[in-house]
């Protein structure tokens, strides 16, 4: 085990000796993250022959840098063109793209970069400081507890559907229904696949997200001149550095949300298989719940964007914990890292921390160095990248639609996935035009399969007895917190409605989603 500040300092300095590989890896990570459909996992797989021949510390520095930077890069298309490249960035679109439409793209990109970096740094430091404890943490959470965490995420459907609860719930259930397409988790029986083997693994997530958000948005964009609602105002906002400074200021002002939601990301990331999708929605729901201005969420709230971005970067530190501590990768990218570690004869598990502490902790220190590099590389870019809002929609929309084709195809290589994206694009467009909540559909599609997986597993463990859902102390505590959250939400809503009835803003009830 590593102990003493001197050792930590030595490792931190050692991680900076890998700057020569960290800097290009960060650039590469941002680029692949910014191309929807590509991911750190695909990139690392392609580059596996290269990483296998590097020495283990250099190769891990390279891989964690690509991984962290790709998480940050994926926020860029989500903010600028409403196109999340991964499930973990769907929540980024909610407020990120809303800010873009208000001409605040530069501010949104700065928030995304700053929240990602600080969230990542904070959780990496936590991981280094409490690694032995955190490694046990993943083992404390059982399937039953995960069911409650999923319900936390699913409750967001009800939260965002307050303007038209019936339509919101219909949309949410439609999403959940889409989520059950594919083979069931116990027997592998195909459900609603209509004979398409491409649907056996469920509705492909990236094409569905791209369709629901990006294609439907592009279709709506056809109806106006520019992405930003007021192009002149947008021109003023993207020129100069004001937006960048405003974004940083917002993050510093709302440091508590940043810290809290990145911590949520870290905790959920530790649970193998959970991942950024659930983390970002749970964090978003929590930020909204405790916000003094919940109505601004979905309308370009910096707090909403901070929550989504810091949590999904918190996940990056979390997923590495079970990999190193018990030899179980917390996600697909971690699985690729496991290949490299094992190839180099590194024995994963508790003994890693006693036998090779410099490797175990060195990975987190490299992550720390990568985040520091990102501050200097990414923040200055916000000003220039943000100008995309000035591109006329007649140019931008065909570009977005072309990109959706590439993004849909990139993940699995099936032409079928392009059709999935188009179908979901039409569904999203109809939802937008008829007042059904697109985000509610999306949450159902994203979290439905995870919820079903944990629920079925729990019920199988309890041999069909529903009491299993209330059999764990952690789970019961979470149930209690869930009830409290919902009660708090109801109470705040009631208070706000009363205030609105008596105030001048009573008429403003447009659904932002």
């Amino acid at each position: 085990m590593l102990s003493g500040w001197e050792n930590y300092g030595t490792l931190l300095i050692a991680s900076f000796t890998h700057l020569w590989i960290i800097i290009p890896a960060v650039v590469l990570g941002i680029l692949v993250g910014a191309i929807p459909g590509f991911s750190a996992q695909n990139t690392l797989l392609i580059l596996l022959p290269l990483t296998l021949v590097m020495d283990i510390d250099t190769s891990m520095a390279f891989m964690v840098s690509v991984y962290c930077a790709s998480h940050m890069g994926a926020g860029i298309p989500a903010i600028l063109i409403n196109m999340p490249g991964t499930g973990g960035h769907a929540a980024t679109c909610l407020d990120g793209f809303a800010m873009t439409k208000q001409g605040r793209s530069q501010e949104a990109l700065a928030i995304s970069a700053f929240a990602s970096v600080v969230g990542g740094l904070f959780t990496t430091i936590l991981a280094i400081a409490f690694l032995p404890f955190l490694s046990r943490m993943g083992l404390y959470l059982h399937s039953v507890d995960m069911v409650v965490i999923m319900v936390f995420g699913l409750c967001l459907i009800a939260m965002i559907a307050t303007d038209d609860l019936v339509k919101g719930l219909i949309a949410g259930f439609f999403g959940l229904l889409m989520g059950v397409v594919g083979t069931d988790f116990i027997y592998g029986t195909p459900r609603a696949t209509f004979g398409f083997i491409e649907l056996y693994e469920g509705v492909p997530l990236v094409p569905a997200l791209i369709g629901l958000l990006a294609i439907s948005e592009a279709l709506v964009m056809f109806e106006r001149e520019s992405v930003a609602l007021s192009s002149e105002e947008a021109r003023q906002k993207v020129s100069g550095w004001t937006g960048t400074f405003e974004g940083i200021h917002q993050c510093i002002r709302q440091w508590w949300i940043l810290a809290w939601t990145s911590f949520i990301g870290l905790l959920i990331g530790i649970v193998p298989g959970a991942g950024a999708s659930i983390a970002s929605f749970v964090a978003y729901a929590q930020a909204r719940l405790f916000s003094s201005d919940p109505q601004s969420f979905g309308r370009g709230s910096p707090a909403g964007l901070i929550a989504a971005e810091s949590s999904n970067n918190g996940v990056t530190s979390g997923t590495l914990v079970p990999l190193l501590a018990i030899g179980v990768p917390g996600g697909t990218t971690a699985a690729v890292m496991a290949v490299v570690l094992q190839y180099n004869g590194v024995l994963l598990g508790p003994r890693l921390f006693t036998d090779r502490p410099e490797t175990a902790y060195g990975i987190f220190f490299s992550m720390l160095a990568a985040y520091i590099v990102m501050v200097f590389l990414v923040l200055p870019l916000a000003r220039y990248v943000g100008t995309i809002v000035l591109v006329p929609t007649r140019v931008l929309v065909p570009l977005i639609l072309s990109l959706t084709v590439v993004a849909s195809l990139a993940n699995r290589g099936y032409v079928f996935d392009i059709y999935v994206a188009l179908v979901f694009g039409v569904i999203g467009y109809i939802c937008r035009r008829t007042g059904y909540n697109v985000i509610a559909v999306l949450i159902g599609v994203l979290l439905g399969p995870l919820f079903e997986q944990y629920l079925l597993r729990s019920l199988r463990l309890g041999q069909g007895d529903l009491q299993i859902l209330f059999s764990s102390s952690i789970g019961n505590t979470l149930w209690g917190l869930l009830v409290l959250s919902l009660a708090l939400q109801w109470w705040k809503g009631r208070r706000m409605r009363r205030a609105l009835r008596n105030g001048p803003a009573a008429k403003e009830t447009i659904n932002p989603y």
Partner: protein, 337 residues
């Protein structure tokens, strides 16, 4: 249903373009003409599981030696899903039967999938498994903190109340072993599929499931193997220690149950091109004598070296056939129907 034109990637494009160029170059050469130069291009391999798993590491180590012996490189595509069905259907429906398209799969688990899910190909008519690589004996294991110290205790408890056993997936030889043991002893096992080896391991380590069932080759620090479904000997005794054979403990007659990863090829191509097929068989068998292969397996720890052994076509096909029969026998318990 997998549309014939559904998959078109960079390689697909290059393949078509390359075919045109090659066809013009040889001026209408026949298939025979190509056969003399076999293998004439990079092998495309479908792996019906996720990257990062055992099949990934094992196939990589094998390829690193095999490519020098056969004179061509290998490009792998991972197509997981539906217990391997996605990868197999992709292989049989969208890959040319030209000897340059191979499949690397888990014979035991995927033949159970074949029997239960009835995918769109025929066994044994369509496929030859020709080079089995490893042996992963199935058994029952527990975490280091488990109160169970022997397989007798597990069965004894399971005769009084259901004992939860985590498996990676239901269509697996390990599950069949558990069902056979339950049938023979009257034990009640609550078998829970976790959808992969990693979540299965976590479930056993965190105590959510009382035991783990399935392969014993994967190293899990602190775990204890209580018994294996092997009729003769525990092949991993050298690395995993002495483990009782379940048949000996309970006097049962359960067949040996193990997983074997193997290379496979379209049978019609192999039957039509016996000389080329022999090249595949001979060069793959030669990999086992290559010290580099051993070194890589030992270094990566992807599977214990004492479990690595060559299985030829007839042994692999026999194993596959026996798995189809066992899966058919226990079909009702392995499926929702």
């Amino acid at each position: 249903m997998l549309a014939e034109t559904a998959f078109m990637n960079r390689r697909g494009f290059l393949k078509i373009a390359g075919s045109f160029v090659a066809a013009s170059a040889v001026g209408g050469a026949t298939g025979k003409g190509f056969a003399a130069n076999y293998p004439s291009r990079t092998f495309d391999v479908i792996v019906p599981t996720r990257e990062g798993g055992g099949a990934d590491g094992l196939s990589r180590a094998f390829i690193n030696s095999w490519k020098d012996k056969i004179g061509q490189n290998f490009e792998r595509q991972f197509s997981p899903g539906a217990a391997g069905q996605v990868g197999y259907e992709l292989y049989f429906k969208q890959r040319e039967m030209d000897g340059s398209n191979l499949l690397f799969g888990n014979v035991s688990a995927e033949m159970i999938m074949y029997a239960l899910q009835k995918p769109d190909f025929k066994f044994p008519e369509d496929i030859y498994y020709f080079c089995g690589i490893d042996t992963d004996p199935c058994g029952i294991w527990v975490s280091g903190e488990s109160p169970f110290t022997s397989v007798e205790e597990v069965v004894e408890t399971a005769m009084k109340r259901p004992v939860s056993i985590a498996v990676s997936r239901l269509p697996h030889p390990g599950t069949i072993g558990l069902l056979a043991l339950a049938e023979a002893t009257g034990a009640q096992f609550n078998i829970i599929p976790y959808g992969g080896g990693n979540p299965q391991v976590v479930a056993v380590l965190n105590g959510e499931a009382e035991c783990g069932g399935g392969g014993t080759a994967g190293y899990i620090e602190g775990a204890r193997i209580l018994g294996v479904f092997d009729r003769e000997e525990f092949v991993l005794a050298e690395t995993r220690g002495d483990v009782p054979l379940i048949n000996e403990v309970f006097g049962t007659d359960i067949p040996s149950l193990y997983s074997t990863r193997s290379w496979a090829v379209h049978r019609s191509w192999a039957d039509a091109n016996p000389d080329d097929y022999k090249v595949l068989q001979d060069t793959s068998a030669a990999v086992f004598d290559d010290p580099r292969f051993k070194e890589e397996i030992v270094q990566s720890g992807v599977t214990p070296w004492d479990g690595v052994r060559f299985r030829d076509q007839s042994t692999c096909m026999e194993l596959a056939q026996s798995m189809v029969e066992l899966a058919t026998k226990y079909g009702d318990q392995l499926t929702a129907g």
